[in-house]
């Protein structure tokens, strides 16, 4: 997909450190401005609450970072969320599964959905964009078909703990997200698995010829993506207390926006979890801060769009200038 492959892509780590620092800087400035305009913004309560609200997308963004680093993409995540939500409700209400089992089952189905993506991508060599655009339609359709347009409600009270409860004063799902972030960060940064992801993204053939388990790793990341969608569905259902087949619609674009804003190259080979987290937080807090300041929804999405382009632009142009100067 490279349009303007620079003659040789620059060193990933240095580039990224800079991109993330820059992004963090931009984020800080934006937050400071928003803070001046609204005293409710920079409160622990609000920030924790925002953390709660961004968990579902955040959980998806972690494996999406992996996938995009390998040079792939997964557009079906939002649909898998919908499918898992329906499976959770359906297996509990209609198949009579005990609720804990239904949760596990739904996450498992998410894993299978991701696995199918991965299998077709690695075995049949369907390009990821094409495969997941097809399953975007297919999985959503399955969710609709299985649910027969009925929503599942009246979950028991304990079920809402994950989505609405708190543990040590912090929303429960935020713990899940934090654990995910730390795990994903370490995996990407420190392990052979993470290294393999970068190698695949930069040169898949060479990775293969180095004896790295390219297909297995790809299969794993797409499966992880499905599993994360399952967890995300569980958190979402628990938060909103109901199950509908249209849940998670459009998540794919939110997730991709966060990941690319965080500096992960859509061409593969470059990216970090920390960048993704900054991207996520940036979008969430901007939306929140603008809303609190009284900016309307339509204007907010204009701002988000402009910030997405502008911050990438600023980061890349500053990066370019330093490169020349050094």
């Amino acid at each position: 997909m490279a349009v303007l492959a620079p003659e040789i892509r620059s060193a990933a780590p240095r580039w990224l450190v800079r991109h993330e620092t820059l992004l963090a800087g931009i984020l800080a400035v934006a937050l400071a401005i928003l803070c001046v305009f609204n005293e409710n913004f920079l409160t622990v309560d609000n920030l924790l609450n925002q953390g709660r609200l961004m968990t579902e997308v955040g959980l998806l963004a972690l494996p999406m970072t992996f996938i995009i680093i390998t040079g792939g993409i997964d557009l079906s995540v939002g649909s898998i969320v919908g499918l898992c939500a329906i499976i959770l409700g359906y297996s509990w209400k209609n198949l009579g599964f005990p609720l804990p089992l239904a949760i596990v089952f739904a996450i498992g189905v998410g894993g299978v959905a991701g696995f199918v993506n991965g299998l077709m991508i690695t075995r049949v060599r369907v390009p990821p964009l094409i495969m997941t655009i097809a399953t975007l339609a297919l999985y959503r359709g399955l969710a609709e078909g299985i649910s027969q347009a009925r929503s599942v409600r009246n979950y028991p009270e304990w079920f809402f703990f994950t989505g609405q409860g708190e543990w040590l004063g912090v929303p429960v799902q935020l713990w899940i997200l934090l654990a995910g972030i730390v795990a994903a960060g370490i995996v990407l940064d420190r392990t052979t698995f993470g290294r393999t992801l970068y190698a695949i993204g930069n040169n898949e053939t060479a990775a293969r010829f180095s004896g790295l388990p390219v297909d297995r790793v790809k299969l794993i990341v797409y499966t992880l993506s499905g599993l994360a969608a399952g967890v995300s569905a569980w958190v979402l259902v628990s938060r909103v207390t109901t199950t509908r087949s249209d849940m998670g619609t459009g998540y794919e674009l939110d997730v991709i926006a966060a990941v690319v804003l965080g500096g992960t190259s859509i061409f593969g080979g470059v990216g970090t979890i920390w960048g993704t987290v900054i991207g996520l937080v940036m979008i969430q807090l901007l939306k929140n801060g603008l809303a609190l300041t009284g900016v309307k929804g339509d204007a907010t999405i204009i701002v988000i769009g402009a910030v997405l382009i502008a911050s990438t632009l600023i980061a890349s142009s500053l990066h370019g200038r330093r490169e020349v100067a050094s």
Binding site: L53, R153, T242, I301
Partner: protein, 348 residues
């Protein structure tokens, strides 16, 4: 194909077949939620935020307009409308959540999903924010009052009666709706199904198709139905203000005006060409401007303590006295039927 009939497993309550008013249901006790820790602002200026299903569509522009009118009339109410740009429950929850953080006196809402929206509304109630719904309800205990534009069974009766009259008692019809999961549409269709079975048993329900809130898709779906069923199709229902004009257009393009009746919910402006051309005889709707207007008055009354659990009516400015039904709902009135004669009087 299945005749999809709403299927949300909630009880239905068809009206009687003739025009006689429904037997007064046994008065239900108040079943709405309770606000805790609200500051007493009786008679004082209040700020309200209105979070509709989505912003930027004609229908909710009209409700907003009504709210502004009411606010101006009352004088000490300030209402701002803000919401998601797509009818997504997830986004809507975030908007309400932000509103709570900002701190306002009351929230007006039209729910994208009655259950999913409940937790955040309850949170608002617990933070001392009054909550009143309109257009699309939430679980009763998640809000104090709901302004009901017209009861589901009332809409259903108006629609089915109009269809039976225009298409014929023993003809086939099909439905174009947004999605099967949209709560209001699902309720209406469910009520239509039982009412048709009860009062117009010979009407043949052919099928129901989804068309999002998409103009061109609605048109394509309606066209497909016309092509598929041919003479067996004598009527089309449009369940949204998008699907109805698109269905009318499809019928016009197919040259079947007068042969295939179009009945549906729609705003008058979009329907004028078809009504004036005689292709559509009746458009069912309430006045959304009035709906927004009433919601604002109800909220003011709640804050002022004038509308308390157990009340049987509320004063709503130019609309006069509105009745409380179903424990915690306020009924705007019967659905309005636009025809060739009166449609020119409306502009929304």
């Amino acid at each position: 194909a299945d005749k999809w009939d709403g299927a949300d497993d909630l009880p239905t309550n068809p009206l009687s077949c003739d025009a006689s008013p429904p037997a007064a249901a046994a008065a239900k006790p108040y079943d709405g939620g309770k606000v805790t820790g609200a500051a007493d602002k009786a008679g004082k200026p209040i700020t309200l935020v209105d979070v509709p299903k989505l912003i930027g569509i004609g229908y909710f522009n009209a409700t907003t307009k009504g709210m502004q009118e009411a606010a101006k009339e009352i004088g000490n109410v300030k209402v701002t409308t803000d919401g998601p740009t797509e009818a997504k429950i997830d986004e809507q929850i975030k908007f309400i959540d932000n509103t709570i953080t900002r701190g306002v006196d009351g929230v007006l809402f039209a729910a994208n999903d009655p259950v999913a929206i409940a937790p955040v509304l309850k949170k608002a109630l617990s933070k001392g924010i009054h909550v009143v719904g309109y257009d699309a309800n939430a679980q009763p205990d998640a809000r104090e009052w709901f302004v009901n534009q017209a009861e589901f069974n009332g809409i259903a009766k108006a629609m089915i009666d109009a269809m039976a009259k225009e298409a014929g008692e023993d003809k086939g019809f099909a439905i174009v709706t947004s999605t099967f999961t949209t709560p209001n549409q699902a309720r209406w269709i469910a009520e239509m199904s039982v009412y048709a079975a009860k009062c117009h048993p010979k009407l043949k329900w052919l099928e129901t198709v989804e068309a999002q809130e998409d103009n061109v898709l609605s048109f394509n779906q309606a066209t497909t139905l016309i092509n598929k069923h041919g003479d067996r199709l004598a009527g089309l229902f449009g369940m949204t203000s998008v699907a109805t004009p698109a269905s009318a257009e499809a019928v016009t393009k197919a040259g079947l005006c007068g042969k295939v009746a179009v009945v549906g919910l729609a705003t008058p402006n979009a329907m004028k060409p078809y009504v004036n051309a005689g292709c559509v005889k009746s458009v069912v709707l309430w006045n959304p401007v009035d709906l927004g207007y009433a919601a604002t008055y109800v909220m003011r009354a709640v804050v002022d303590g004038k509308l308390k659990p157990g009340a049987t009516s509320v004063e709503a400015g130019k609309l006069g006295k509105l009745n409380v039904i179903n424990g915690s709902e306020i009924l705007l009135g019967s659905p309005f039927i636009f025809t060739k004669d009166n449609i020119k009087d409306f502009d929304f």
